[in-house]
Structures are given as structure tokens and as C-alpha cells.
């Protein structure tokens, strides 16, 4: 099995965009293909969650292959809720590593604005198991992660301000990210006193509704940022089946698999993008990924250990919370931020970043992917 590298990347701005999902995808892909030196592409994989419900469009793989003039190459869409991008990237990586394809274009996108809140909420809830008593209960994702946050605070002594500190960190990082949805300076006071969404989560604790697309070109060889390993795991989509509300096994397992495959440990990682769909999710993720002990994540946040100068800078892109969260694009956008960090020209560059990790979550823990990447020549 040969090395596999990311040799080009493209991304649109994230936010409310007066543009179709097709148009956004094409822009991100063209940018990635140009940066990659316009290689012959052998397949196109698209990560997307709910373009049927949200954008009146499926067959994104074929649309993209056709519009980009790539010929009659294999194409498809991969869906796994908010992990759709990470899953598409993993499929492409596995098949390039196996020698099935030499060069693959992997894109992710979601169109989420321009419709009423009910339509969007209903679409997002497609990522729950709706054929269950839980699906019928009216539980939403903010509701789920709000329960987790209350339980976490009860168990470990964290306070609402620690959630706010996650949101503040990510907002501060987003200010320097030209594609981020929210780049306005804010304060802990503003975050703490924002409109409540679901107790104890306020507006800034929740990732926004966003449009956007992202794409990377991956290729056999070492001509770029190398993908060292991929880990994927599933978990129950039902809250009532969780053995422990404060443990997201898919995140833990996917990381374990990726670390083992790369022969690395958390201490080897220099920079991380992880799935902060809610501020609470970031705190659990830094524990599941092995950077901090269980129940200690909030202390790490308080001590600034997940920022530049701390132990491990997390979500230097601004994360889902402030960069934005166009669902299918998120997993690819995370890879792009890690690639930029390892190429030495990211927003909020981490000095001498050698190894990076990206973690993409789907649902409340239904899916997780972890990818570990290494700087060229490092």
C-alpha cells in the first residue's frame, strides 16, 4: 500500500449564501483541482447529508463529474449525517490506498439557508432514529446536547462559563479565518448572556445554519500532506441506549483505531479540528480523543490548554461554532484546516505543526471518523 496525500484544497466562504449547492460545489472543486495541478481524476466522492430535503437535489456525484468535465468516471454520494464529509474522505482514502484509484476528488457541501426554520429543523432531525419512541418525542439536537451539558456539570463540577469559554476561543480563532461565518469580536459576557436555546446552551453554544462547500484532491504518493490513517466507528443513535451520557463511544473508538493505525498517541498530535457542533461536544471530544482525562476537559478549557501556547490547539479554524457548519462540507473543511496547518499557511498557524488530527461526528454519536495527517517530509 502506497502513501496517500492531499495535493489540493478548495473551499467557499461559509454562511448565508445566495447560491445553489451545485454552484458552491463547483467553486470548491475547481479551486482544489487547480491547486492540485489539474490532475486526471479517477473518481469523485461527495459528502452530503440532506440535499434532497434541503436543496431539492440528489445525484450530486454525477452532477459534479459532469459539470467539471471529468469524463465518465465513478462518482457517488456518501451520507452519514454530520459525518458525511469525513466518511466520503475515508472512502476515497481507503480506495486510493488500496490502489483502486490513483487520484480522487472528494467534496462536501450543504445548502441550509433560504427556507423556514421548521423545514431545516425537520431535515436536521433526519439524523435521529425517527422510527423509535425517541424520534417521536420531539427531542432535537440542541436538546440532546443540552442534557449532556447539564449532566456533565452535575458530575464534574463544570459551569456554564466553561461552555462559554469554548465558544469564545473558537470565535476568536474565526476572526482570522477569511471563510468563517462569524468574524465579529465578542466577549464572554455576551456569550453568557445570549439568547437561551436549550438549557444550559445559549446561542453561541450552538453551531449555526450555514451554506458552504469544500473539496480536496487526494493522490497516491507523497506529493502533499500525507494521510497517515483513518478510523471510523458507529454508535447508537438513541439517547436511551447510551450506557453513559458523557461518553461518545464512536468518537473514542474512531480515534483509537486511527491512533493505532498510525502508530501514534494523543501526545504526538500538534493541532486538532474536532466536531464542536455544540460547545459541550468539544469538551467531551477533547476527552474522548485522549487529550485530557474524562471529566477534566472543562479544566483544560479554563486553563487555556486547547489554545496556542497550551497543550493542543483545537479548532483553529473557528470550528463549527464560528466557522459555520454546512453539514456535508464540515468533514472536508476540517481536513482543509489541518492541511493548511501542516503546509504552514493556516489562519491561526500553529508553529512547527507536524501532525494533525481531524474528527467528524454524525448525529449524537451515530458516526465518527478520525483522520491523522502529517506534514510533507516531516
Amino acid at each position: 500500500m502506497s502513501a496517500v496525500s492531499v495535493i489540493g484544497r478548495g473551499i467557499t466562504s461559509f454562511g448565508k449564501k445566495d447560491e445553489s449547492i451545485k454552484s458552491m460545489l463547483i467553486k470548491a472543486c475547481r479551486e482544489a483541482l487547480i491547486e492540485a495541478g489539474r490532475p486526471k481524476v479517477d473518481a469523485v466522492f461527495v459528502g452530503n447529508f440532506a440535499s434532497g430535503a434541503l436543496a431539492n437535489q440528489e445525484i450530486l456525484g454525477s452532477v459534479l463529474a459532469n459539470e467539471l468535465g471529468l469524463g465518465r468516471i465513478p462518482a457517488l454520494k456518501v451520507e452519514g449525517a454530520c459525518a458525511s464529509g469525513g466518511l466520503a474522505f475515508r472512502q476515497a482514502y481507503q480506495l486510493v490506498k488500496a490502489g483502486e484509484y490513483k487520484t480522487v476528488l472528494v467534496a462536501g457541501a450543504e445548502k441550509m439557508t433560504g427556507m423556514d426554520t421548521e423545514t431545516v429543523t425537520k431535515a436536521i432531525n433526519l439524523a435521529m432514529d425517527n422510527d423509535s419512541n425517541e424520534g417521536a418525542s420531539g427531542l432535537t439536537f440542541p436538546g440532546f446536547f443540552g442534557v449532556l451539558a447539564n449532566r456533565y456539570m452535575y458530575e464534574y463540577g463544570a459551569e456554564k462559563k466553561h461552555l462559554a469559554m469554548v465558544a469564545l476561543k473558537n470565535r476568536q480563532y474565526a476572526i482570522s479565518n477569511p471563510i468563517a461565518q462569524f468574524r465579529k469580536e465578542t466577549s464572554l459576557y455576551e456569550i453568557m448572556n445570549a439568547r437561551p436555546i436549550t438549557d444550559p446552551l445559549g446561542l453561541f453554544d450552538c453551531s449555526p445554519i450555514s451554506d458552504g462547500a469544500a473539496a480536496v484532491v487526494i493522490q497516491q504518493g507523497e506529493n502533499g500532506v500525507e494521510i497517515l490513517s483513518s478510523g471510523q466507528a458507529s454508535g447508537t443513535p438513541l439517547m436511551q441506549e447510551a450506557e453513559d451520557l458523557l461518553h461518545i463511544p464512536a468518537t473514542y473508538e474512531s480515534a483509537k483505531r486511527a491512533y493505532e493505525a498510525a502508530g501514534l498517541e494523543p501526545k504526538d498530535i500538534d493541532v486538532v479540528e474536532l466536531h464542536d457542533c455544540f460547545s459541550m461536544t468539544e469538551i467531551i471530544a477533547i476527552e474522548e480523543l485522549g487529550f485530557f482525562e474524562k471529566g477534566k476537559g472543562w479544566e483544560a478549557i479554563e486553563q487555556g490548554l486547547t489554545k496556542h501556547g497550551g497543550i493542543i490547539p483545537v479548532n483553529t479554524s473557528g470550528g463549527l461554532l464560528s466557522k459555520g457548519h454546512p453539514i456535508g462540507a464540515t468533514g472536508i473543511a476540517q481536513i482543509i484546516q489541518i492541511v493548511d496547518q501542516l503546509n504552514g499557511h493556516a489562519c491561526n498557524q500553529v508553529g512547527n505543526a507536524r501532525i494533525g488530527l481531524a474528527q467528524n461526528l454524525g448525529g449524537t454519536g451515530a458516526y465518527s471518523t478520525v483522520h491523522i495527517l502529517r506534514r510533507k517530509g516531516a
Copy 2:
């Protein structure tokens, strides 16, 4: 690369079912897993087109892994319109062949009944490029294939009765298929005089709206029907971009790739399942797959060459036209019919069938997959 075989299969009946997509998927998968001898499963791939729009449910991969108690294994959904099942099967095959997984469960399903015609028609049209002037024109799939049929008749001298003969053949096969949606004896007269859908296609020329699920277990080794090769290709989703309306390049290319990878030719194939979403599509497909010359498919139909005793028995399951077409399930159901044929216990068994081929189309030619399988020990 090791051999890869289908070691178990399960399928629900097709038709109007008062049952959720999750319930159908679980039934098909349990049957397949039991037949396979309850192996340890390393990943679950689900082919599905539009369960968001049609069944208020995404994350089918995770739901299935969880409900079947398969543990925290990788899972995902693959979408490529009506080729979703074939694409999911291909992904699984490629990754087992590459050694990434040893055993994979591949399922396909669609829930399409129980809602109004407008909702279903709108969902099916998600398989067109709706962000184009063509998408806005009101063209539907019956409309598209009706145009093809008129053009084919004009170019080659076929008549409406040849379309009807395809529908009759597949209906006659379906009568013996216990899972088929339509098992009532019919006549050429009834088919020719059925309610018109879109000129020249009548009711029997169009595949129905169906619920259903199908699943197979594939594994490294030769302990079952061996998958010899997989071919996939894309094509334009736009009618206006077709170079030749009577040529579906994705079908042709996917077959070419599968033949080449297997080192086989059309004459080596003993039995075929192909994508007869409309009677017209079957005639074009038998030409594109190389069984008959371009423009001669209708003559082959007239001469009974695609039936038992002819050159190549086609759609012995009853095909999409009479077995039914629960979109995401179709590609897997085709594989199952070929597996049954090669195991020697299919409905409408073809004597001494050694090599079989399954072709699954998405959209109007946006996607096609072709898989070639071989009888155990043959």
C-alpha cells in the same frame, strides 16, 4: 488481492407494504446474516436514494449497525439515484477485495408507498439536475424514456408491440418469483391497451412504486458465489447534453470495465439482471451490454432471444417492471437473483448457469454499475 464471494442473501417481498424502511432493512439483513452463518461483520453499507424525502429517515447505516447489534463497526449510506444499491455493493466489494474489511453486510432499501403521488414524483425527480433549465422544464423520468422510445422506433423500425413484449416477458418471469410485486398473468393485448403514461409508454412499460429491502453478505474467500469484477461509470444527467439519445454511455462503459476486469465477453454470460426501469431501457441495455448490436435489440426481443432457450435470459426475476423497484433495494435485489441463479435455485432457473451479470442504472444515465459473478467452483 483475494477472491470475494457472496455468502448470504436476504430479501423482503416487494410492493405496497405497511412497514417502515428500518423494519424492512432489518428483516432482509437478518435473513442474509443467518444464511451466511452469522459471521462477524466488519462494516455495513446501505444503498438508498431518498429516505430523507420519502421515509423521514437518514443515518440508515448507523441505525442498521445498532439495531442488528453489530457493534461499533463502520457504517454509511451510499446514494446514486436508482443505482444506489449497485454503488453500495461496489464500495463493499472494492474494500473487501483490498483487504480493508473481511466481511461486509450490504443492504439496500426504499420506502415509496403510503404518500401522495406528488411527493413521490418530486422525490424521484431529485435524480435529475434540478439546478438547470432542464430541471425546471417539468421533464419526468417516464417523459424522458418516452422520448427515447419514440426516437428508437423512428430510427430502427421497432414498434410499440416490442416494448410490450419486454413487459410481457418480465411479467411472465415474475409470476414464479415469490417476492415479486406483480404475479398476475397478463397478455400482450392487455399491455398494449393499458392506460397511457407518456407516449408511447403505457402502464406496463413503467416500473412501479414499491417498498422493499434486500441484503447480501460478502466475504473474502471462495465460500460462495464469487464476484469476478465491478465496473462503474457516470454520464450526464441532462438530456440536452446527450450526444445520442439512443446511447447510454454509463451503461456501456460500466459493462466494458467489468468485462475487461473479469477477462470476459458478453458471450461468456449465462444470465443477466439489468435495469428495466422502463421497457425501453431494457432494449437499450441489451445493446449497450453487448448482447445485441445497436438498433437490433428489438429484433432480439421479437425473436425471444432474451428468454430461456434464447441467447441470454434477461431479468428472470421479473425485473424492475414486475418484480418491483424499491429504488435503493434494486441493485442488491439484482445481485440476489444472479446469486440464486448461480447457486442453482432461482425462480426461473437457467440450466447450468455459470456466469451472471447485474447492471444497475441511476437517473437517465447519470450512474451505472455492472457486476459479474461466477458460480462456486465453476
